[in-house]
């Protein structure tokens, strides 16, 4: 395992491991294989980008790793515990205590202000940072008392990131976090994600179909037709502001 940059050390301890994970959707008489036997490890503190076209299975993989979905076959381990053996309640606790999610469409609660959206998570987390700090990380200290309807798309997504990191998760899962945003806004959102990864050492997985985003990763995992077709280890990570598309 290469060290990507001299000042940052990526652990060799895997946070998440997937072994032979496959997912088959049964739609009527038709079987659709979304994932066909995937093996991979996510190590502590690394930033991984999953890259692939629509239907490549990247979202399905993320959903399984994040405890939102169950594989048809194979096993997923979180720090040695087999996630795939968890019941619904244990999976809920796994998400609550260890995983932070950022969605393409933000999924903020419209009836709560930015701060209150973050509070939602800090109220149930074990060792959260304060909501104010989390919003400070994403640069939204001055917009904390606004409702989602009063925020721009980029701001809403940054609130979503603050909400995801406030619990100080072990893993941050971002599904097309810039998919609904323009370039400039997208970069500020990526900055927030990168900063979290760098400063808090949170294992981070980003799903994107935008190849440029891959340049900010430690590792890039390319998917197509439900299989990992290539893993690229970047010798150096670009900072988000250096990206352009």
């Amino acid at each position: 395992m290469n060290k990507t940059s001299p000042e940052r050390a990526i652990s060799t301890i895997p946070t998440l491991e997937a072994r032979g994970v496959s997912k088959v959707y049964q739609t009527g008489a038709l079987e659709v294989t979304a994932l066909g036997g995937v093996d991979l490890s996510l190590f502590e503190g690394e930033l991984v980008v999953f890259l692939g076209p629509s239907g490549s299975g990247k979202s399905t993989l993320l959903n399984i790793l994040g405890g939102l979905d169950r594989p048809s076959a194979g096993a997923v381990y979180f720090r040695g515990d087999e996630l795939t053996q968890f019941d619904d309640h244990a999976l809920t606790l796994y998400r609550r205590d260890h995983v932070g999610f950022v969605f393409q469409f933000y999924n903020l609660v419209a009836s709560l202000t930015a701060r209150e959206n973050v509070d939602l998570v800090t109220e149930i987390a074990i060792n959260p940072m304060s909501s104010d700090d989390a919003l400070g990380v994403v640069g939204l200290s001055h917009r904390m008392d606004h409702f989602p309807a009063e925020l721009s798309g980029g701001e809403q997504q940054r609130v979503a990131i603050a909400r995801a990191i406030a619990k100080q998760p072990d893993i941050l899962m971002c599904d097309e976090p810039t998919g609904a945003l323009d370039i400039k806004t997208g970069i500020t959102v990526l900055q927030a994600i990168e900063q979290t990864n760098r400063e808090l050492g949170t294992t981070t997985a980003i799903i994107t179909h935008n190849a440029t985003v891959a340049n900010m990763a430690d590792r890039v995992i390319l998917l197509a037709d439900g299989h990992i077709i290539e893993v690229i280890e970047n010798s150096s990570r670009k900072r988000p502001e250096e990206l352009s598309w």
Partner: protein
């Protein structure tokens, strides 16, 4: 496939309806409840009205009744000569008692003369069984059907009557119904008791012979010319009959049977006016909520349709059809249920009222009106939503809707103190204040409806409690055919089993104050009465004032007289003195609207000795049988009424009816509560599915997420309950106002059991509905929620 017969949009409609069947059914049920209530009450009202009018018309029910002491037959012509009188007939009306083996006390009997042959023009009889009098037959009678049925009497059976001091056997020739006794109430009784009250018709010649009334009569019945002024006719009749001991003619409106029947019809009419609008309003609101939400969900589809070139009208029509289908299903269910309920009600009424026939008549226009109201309410309720949908421009419709904008409200300071999920509940509730408010009121209507229906039972219990344990405390009352000197009280007191005997006097009189007057009986009561007491306005027992007259609250209201006012009393019996009496007390009583005087003062004013109309007695139950047996052989007894048996008869009928009504009202309340809560839950769930699923993804458990959705419903339900109680009490109060007649009044009394039951039923319905909604939360698709955007 059936589906291919439909246009694509209609196919979409059918599939949408099938998908939303539970929600659609919940709304349809509310429409159905409104339609059913309307058809039942309106149909019954018309059935009673039609039947009554036809019955009156065919059997010549009299317009005016005038009892008197005795007049020669020639006086009839003088009555007929009064302008406005079309025809008049004299008849003999007497009372007697019957010795029936089935009951221990003598049954009360009203005897009326009937022409020996042919039929009268006024108050003809309807023969249900047997035959009319045989010419020249002796000791034959016709008997009222209710009494015959209660005792299993058949034509040719014999009955023994104690009539004018003599026991006589009569053979039943026929069993009859009369338009005068649709509601068969014994004189002075409060509730009908078919076992103890008989009406008998005897050939005029025979009755005249028994009572020495040959060539004479003691009651006039008459028909008026159409359009004649009844009050003028009555005044003239009184003038003519005055020398013959007339005690005051009564219009049809004061005839007991007609009076009670009209009261019942008025009650039905009120029911038809109050309940259905509540259901239609709730249905309107539910349809509005459901369609608004549906349209919001289909924004992009609407945009697509319009982009394809569907016209605004076509889009509007699509949603209108949706509303129409739900309403039509509700209407059909309601029309069927209403007809069925109406038929059931007709059977119930047939037990109470004695008509030769009573069918639930299904007037076509009633069904048309119900349909028009249902569809109009549905269209008005959904008009705004449908217009909004149809008017969307394709470009706007296909763009996603911006997030719901929430703003800080005045309540924000305390909302902020709540935890996140609770905060979401509160913000959502206040974000849609109109919807939250209407949901609240909708649920509260369920509670209100139950309270206002069930309160009748409480009020009746209180009425019975007040009337029969505080005012009338006697076990039985013996009344005499003619007033008797007061020493008969000692005779009664010495009869077996009598522990207390208390005399009373009833005197017919006209009470006048200013321009108001009332014909009625003044009740004479002894000082220190223990069996028949007066209550003051605080329902405390008091003695009758020694001087002046005590008026019941209702009578005081009718006359417009208060304490200290001097009223004019025209006594219509004996020497017929006119008295000027000060009102010295106002007394509370729920049944009838009597006036009371001290017995001694009354007798003195009448310039009579110590006379008494009857005696109230308290009995030692061990000797009661002997007491009643003795009365069966005592002449001069007009009537023996036993409180317990009368109450029992009343309760039996009432309880059966109340149980049926409570059952249906409970169903109606549940329909409302389930309809409102289920719709609110479904709509909230659909609006917030993505939000709730996001929370599940963030690590909220199923119960925590359910709390957000159900917490809102719970909050609205909790707020709705006290509102429902207030509306229910208000509706009950309106009922007491609309039933405030001089026949009876019902007190505004609602037991905690009624409150408890009403609240519990609605709460249970809400909780049951919440459980169903909760199960739907369990099936939220987490993955889909990440991707989809509303």
């Amino acid at each position: 496939m059936v589906m291919t017969f439909f246009k694509p949009l209609d196919r979409k409609l059918i599939r949408d309806l099938m998908r939303m069947w539970a929600q659609a059914l919940a709304i349809a049920m509310v429409v159905a409840a409104g339609v059913a209530m309307y058809i039942m009450s309106e149909g019954m009202l018309r059935s009673l009205g039609d039947t009554r009018d036809a019955y009156y018309e065919r059997y010549g029910f009299a317009d005016v009744f005038a009892p008197l002491k005795r007049a020669p037959n020639s006086a009839v012509v003088r009555i007929e000569n009064i302008p406005g009188v079309r025809r008049a007939e004299g008849r003999i009306s007497k009372v007697a008692t019957l010795d029936m083996p089935g009951i221990r006390e003598p049954a009360q009997e009203k005897i009326l003369s009937y022409p020996d042959k042919d039929h009268p023009a006024i108050n003809r009889l309807y023969l249900t069984e047997g035959r009319w009098f045989r010419p020249g037959a002796r000791d034959e009678v016709l008997i009222s059907e209710a009494f015959a049925m209660a005792h299993g009497l058949k034509p040719r059976d014999k009955v023994t009557a104690l009539i004018n001091g003599r026991k006589r056997d009569f053979e039943i020739a026929g069993i009859v119904l009369s338009p005068e006794f649709i509601y068969a109430l014994a004189p002075g009784a409060m509730f009908p008791d078919d076992l103890r009250f008989a009406v008998m018709w005897m050939p005029r010649s025979m009755l005249a012979a028994i009572f020495n009334m040959e060539g004479a009569f003691n009651e006039i019945v008459l028909h008026m010319e159409p359009g004649a002024n009844r009050d003028q006719v009555i005044a003239k009749v009184d003038e003519v009959l005055d020398p013959y001991g007339g005690i005051g003619a009564l219009g049809r409106d004061r005839q007991i049977s007609h009076w009670y029947l009209s009261g019942e019809m008025e009650q039905l009419e009120n029911m038809g006016r109050v309940a259905p609008p509540i259901f239609f309003a709730v249905a309107m609101f539910l349809l509005n909520m459901a369609v608004s939400r549906w349209v919001e969900l289909e924004r992009s589809e609407i945009g697509l349709l319009k982009a394809f070139g569907y016209s605004t009208r076509a889009v509007a029509l699509h949603y209108v059809k949706f509303v129409m289908v739900i309403t039509a299903v509700g209407y059909l269910m309601g029309a069927i249920a209403g007809t069925w309920l109406g038929r059931g009600l007709a059977v119930m009424y047939q037990e109470f009222f004695h008509f030769p026939f009573l069918y639930f008549s299904m007037h076509g226009d009633m069904y048309v009106i119900a349909a028009s109201i249902s569809f109009a309410a549905a269209l008005i309720g959904t008009w705004h939503a449908v217009r909004t949908a149809a008017d969307l421009s394709p470009a706007v419709a296909m763009a996603p809707q911006p997030p719901t904008s929430y703003r800080r409200s005045k309540n924000d300071r305390w909302i902020k103190k709540a935890l996140g999920p609770t905060r979401m509940i509160l913000r959502h509730t206040f974000r849609w204040p109109v919807r939250s408010g209407l949901t609240c009121i909708g649920i509260s209507m369920g509670v209100a409806l139950l309270i206002s229906a069930m309160f009748f039972q409480d009020a009746t219990e209180t009425l019975i409690e007040t009337q029969f344990t505080m005012i009338e405390r006697q076990d039985a009352t013996v009344s005499f055919i003619e007033p008797k000197p007061q020493r008969v009280v000692e005779n009664v007191a010495s009869m077996p089993g009598v522990m207390v005997a208390e005399p009373y006097r009833y005197v017919p009189a006209t009470l006048r104050f200013g321009s108001n007057e009332r014909r009625m009986f003044i009740r004479g009561i002894v000082q220190g009465a223990t069996l028949n007491r007066l209550l003051d306005r605080d329902l405390k027992a008091v003695d009758v004032p020694k001087k002046g007259v005590a008026l019941s609250t209702k009578l005081a209201e009718i006359l417009g007289a208060g304490l200290g006012d001097v009223i004019e009393v025209d006594v219509r019996e004996g020497r017929k003195p006119t008295l000027l009496l000060p009102v010295t007390m106002i007394s509370e009583v729920y049944i009838a609207s009597p006036a009371y005087m001290d017995l001694k003062t009354l007798n003195r004013a009448l310039l009579e000795g110590d006379n008494t109309s009857g005696v109230h007695v308290m009995l030692d139950e061990a000797y009661a049988d002997d007491f009643y047996a003795m009365l069966k052989d005592t002449p001069s007894v007009a009537q023996v009424s036993v409180k317990e048996t009368m109450l029992q008869a009343f309760r039996n009928t009432l309880e059966e009816n109340i149980n049926i009504m409570n059952f249906f009202n409970t169903i109606f309340a549940v329909v409302i509560a389930v309809g409102v809560v289920y719709n609110a839950g479904r709509i909230s769930l659909s609006e917030r599915a993505r939000e709730l699923a996001s929370l599940r993804v963030l690590g909220f458990t199923r119960n925590e997420v359910s709390y957000i959705l159900l917490g809102e419903l719970g909050l609205l339900t909790l707020v709705a309950l006290p509102i429902g109680v207030v509306i229910g009490v208000a509706l009950a109060w309106l009922w007491t106002l609309s039933l405030d007649t001089d026949l009876y009044r019902i007190p505004l009394v609602i037991s905690s059991a009624t409150f408890g039951y009403s609240i519990s039923v609605v709460l249970a319905a809400a909780v049951g509905t919440a459980i169903i909604t909760q199960r739907q939360i369990a099936h939220l698709d987490l993955v889909a929620s990440l991707k989809t955007r509303e």
